[in-house]
């Protein structure tokens, strides 16, 4: 399974839809997309991981890299994820404390509405 990427804006959020495997082989494409979005002035990213089958530490590295980039612009990078197998990887690496993780896009949007 390869990686499919898509994105669109909703309110102030840029929603990045990720489908497939984020691994050492495909992660560079996600990295490029995140860098590109930030360069174009999108600083509030919400990455939807619900259709991700496989995530390895290269993928984690790319997400962390994205987070650092948006933070440099006072932005945010948050995740939508309910899959236990994927959540486990964030937990093992302690990254649940670093990323906001929501159960749905709507829940994330709501939280954002409150913040701002």
């Amino acid at each position: 399974m390869d990686l499919k990427l898509d994105h669109h804006n909703e309110d102030r959020l840029t929603i990045v839809e990720v489908e497939g495997e984020i691994d050492v082989y495909t992660a560079p494409r996600l990295r490029e997309l995140l860098i590109d979005l930030v360069n174009k002035g999108n600083f509030h990213l919400l990455v939807n991981m619900e259709k991700v089958d496989f995530l390895d530490s290269t993928g984690l590295g790319v997400l962390v890299g994205g987070l650092k980039r948006v933070r440099a612009h006072d932005g945010s990078l948050e995740l939508v994820c309910t899959q236990e197998r994927i959540l486990k990887i964030f937990r093992i690496t302690g990254l649940t404390k670093v990323f906001g993780i929501y159960a749905s896009v709507d829940e994330a949007k709501e939280a954002h509405g409150r913040d701002k």
Partner: protein, 143 residues
């Protein structure tokens, strides 16, 4: 002798081949279905780490993965030939220190969190990571 040994050049695509082989052999060896995800991920991590290390230090050298199913356990050893001077030890999480490259040590953290049993042997001549999982009694092939 390792039951199966896979040698591959330091390319990300081959990490997928290694994952595929490890998962297939784990399944046959009788590793529980619920653990196969962990096998796939941990073996992938170890191989990704090795690929990154080779690309930085010795892109022309091959990486080796050995898979054994004797001894009642499914055992995987990934060996690279890159000098491991990076001291990938555990550090408290500090975002400013995290880079989006491999030196962040997530790989080792993931492996340690997933494998039933892990040993890491760093050396100036390369790193060896040995992981293992319990193998069911209904595994078919020995040897």
């Amino acid at each position: 002798m390792a039951t199966v040994e896979l040698t591959f050049s330091a390319l990300p695509a081959h990490v997928r081949t290694a994952r595929l082989v490890a998962t297939a052999i784990a399944r046959r060896t009788g590793v529980e279905e619920s653990l196969l995800d962990e096998v796939r991920l941990a073996v992938g991590e170890a191989c990704s780490r090795a690929v990154e290390a080779h690309r930085a230090h010795c892109p022309g050298e091959p990486i080796r993965i050995e898979l054994r199913d004797d001894s009642g356990r499914f055992e995987v050893t990934v060996s690279d030939l890159a000098p491991s001077d990076e001291h990938e030890q555990e550090r408290p999480l500090d975002l400013s220190m995290l880079s989006d490259s491999y030196t962040s040590g997530f790989g080792i953290a993931v492996i340690a969190g997933l494998a039933d049993d892990v040993e890491v042997f760093p050396s100036p001549k390369g790193m060896r990571i040995r992981m293992s999982w319990p193998a069911g009694l209904n595994g078919h092939a020995a040897g």
